[in-house]
Amino acid sequence: MSDYAISTDGLRKSYRGVRRRVAVDGLDLRVPVGGVHGFLGPNGSGKTTTIRMLLGLIRPDDGEIRIFGHEVPATLPDVIARVGAIVESPKFFPNFTGRQNLELLASAIGTKRPRVRQVLAETGLSDRAGDRFATYSLGMKQRLAIAATLLKEPDLLIFDEPTNGLDPAGIHEIRTTMRRLADEGRTVLVSSHILAEVEQIADTVSIIGRGRLIASGSVAEIIGDRAESVRVVLRPEEGERAEGVLTAAGLTVRSDHEALLVDGATDPADVNRLLAEQGLYARELGGVRVGLESVFLELTHDAELGRTRRRDRRHGTGEEAA
């Protein structure tokens, strides 16, 4: 039995167009069995392309994909019964009712009708099952898509941007559903660029940028030593001197609008003492917990910067060329 629900090695995909566009660039992804795994990345970072490759909808140019140890796409039919997925927005026949759409999918895989009734009830759609899909709200469409994935009673659920366009109640509902599914022992892979929602439910995350893996691990591991910092607000004219004092003490100082964020310091009292010894008195002082969003922005920004630098090195700047 594989340790990973999903693993990819050196996965690549580029699209032909006027210019060849690399969507996924040697991605090594590991999604452990069980729990919610957040698949994070800015728009255009290759999340949806990766998910489509996992589901055999598009062919990778290179690299390996395994789902529960089965090689994809070669042996995808052997494992697809264990995988439920919603790619981007829910896609069904608009003029068929919710029930008809589910019954057609169920009959395509030999699932009996009672299961359709069951998943409709599980997702709270029994009352509207006889209405046309086109008349559903976005939240209901999303619930129908979840109902469809549950027809197979899957071990792995893949949700691509599941809360796009939903209102807060809808977002909460989807989040709760994903958590519940994971608590039932399934693996849930959820791709998103909305970090706050993933942070609340994900056990592990992978962050990608420009089609490459930037970071992977548990949320706590990703946040790591950035977990806490101290926020200090001083008089504007004292900011520069305070930064010098704290840096000299071996701390990392970042500017955050009118405040200074001091990384590496876990106790605000230590920072207060250092500043007071130099005659600097904080107007505000407190501990700040760094969220996944800050780390994500920092990592994806670093990745982008690194890429730009690599590109510059490859092509040479104007001065270097001269």
Partner: protein, 325 residues
């Protein structure tokens, strides 16, 4: 399993029923035009023909000999120039009464001259529309991608969908062919015209049964290739105008490779087409002759089968390898 699913989907698809209604209405429109064209000769038409005949006979009695003389001179001149007798039959130029009566069509003639073309139009368009829209809707709604996350074996999905449109259109084909066939026969009977149903005509009707399912398969296959009803329609219209009308129309030697010609041949158990050959004469004029060429039923059936199998195979390969967004 997939075939049953697809048949069920087609059954609950409203657009399919809309095309069924359109097919029935189209068939009745064809019957209406048949009713209008299947005119028996009335007493009034006979009287008019008699007047015209008598008028021509009078002229012939006055100038007949001169006309025969002129005809023979022309015949001799052409024979001198070309070395061949043009066969003007100058002695038979006298007006005949039957030449002035309008032709009374028989059922067999009506089917040959216009009935088949109308039937091809109705059955072909309805079949093509059902097949194309059924598959293209899956691409445009994204339901194809959803289905493939349940059944990733693409060739099975392809075979299921193409097979389903073929099977689902068989009863409709029976219905429309019955309406057209029985309707045309009934009209000729009611009009008191020759409504004899020969074996050949009966077999034509039997072979016409394959038309609608075949068109539905072609529509589905084209939709797999092009993924949009609008694009399929544009390609079919482009083919009909560019190849069938302009290409084959201008170069009649291409007729053996025309879908329309071979469809007619399939229905009529072989067909003919004409090729014009023109030669410059020593006096600078151009002499054109039209020769009739025959296409056997084996050629017609073989050509259509090869085109069909090629289309099905290419679409299967494309669908198997294509990225789905």
């Amino acid at each position: 399993m997939l075939l049953r699913t697809e048949l069920r989907r087609l059954r609950i698809r409203r657009l399919v029923w809309l095309f069924v209604v359109a097919g029935v209405l189209g068939s009745f429109f064809v019957l209406f035009t048949t009713w209008v064209s299947a005119q028996p000769i009335t007493d009034e038409m006979r009287e008019q023909a008699e007047v015209a005949y008598q008028d021509q006979l009078e002229r012939w009695e006055e100038h007949g000999e001169e006309e025969i003389e002129r005809c023979e001179e022309e015949q001799a001149r052409i024979a001198d120039e070309t070395g061949e007798d043009p066969g003007f039959d100058c002695a038979d130029m006298m007006p005949q009464r039957e030449h002035f009566l309008p032709h009374e069509q028989s059922l067999a003639e009506h089917v040959d001259w216009s009935g088949l073309t109308s039937a091809i139009m109705v059955l072909g368009v309805v079949g093509l529309a059902i097949g194309t829209t059924a598959v293209a809707a899956e691409f445009s709604s994204g339901a194809m991608a959803t289905l493939l996350t349940f059944q990733p074996r693409r060739l099975r999905v392809y075979a299921g969908k193409v097979g389903a449109v073929a099977l689902a259109t068989v009863p409709l084909s029976l219905l429309l062919c019955t309406i057209l066939g029985v309707g045309m026969w009934a009209i000729f009977e009611i009009r008191g015209l020759d409504a004899t149903v020969s074996d050949a005509l009966l077999w034509t009707a039997v072979r016409a049964l394959a038309l609608l399912p075949a068109a539905a398969i072609v529509g589905a296959v084209l939709a797999f290739l092009l993924r949009s009803t609008a694009v399929v329609l544009a390609v079919v219209a482009g083919f009909a105008i560019g190849w069938e009308a302009i290409g084959v129309g201008m170069a009649q030697t291409l007729a053996p490779f025309s879908i329309r010609t071979n469809l007619v041949g399939w229905l009529q158990y072989g067909t003919t087409y004409f090729v014009n050959t023109c030669e410059s004469q020593p006096d600078g004029s151009v002499f054109c002759d039209s020769t009739e060429q025959t296409l056997s039923f084996a050629w017609n059936a073989g050509f259509l089968a090869v085109v069909g199998v090629l289309l099905i195979a290419v679409a299967a390969l494309v669908f198997r390898r294509r990225d789905l967004s």
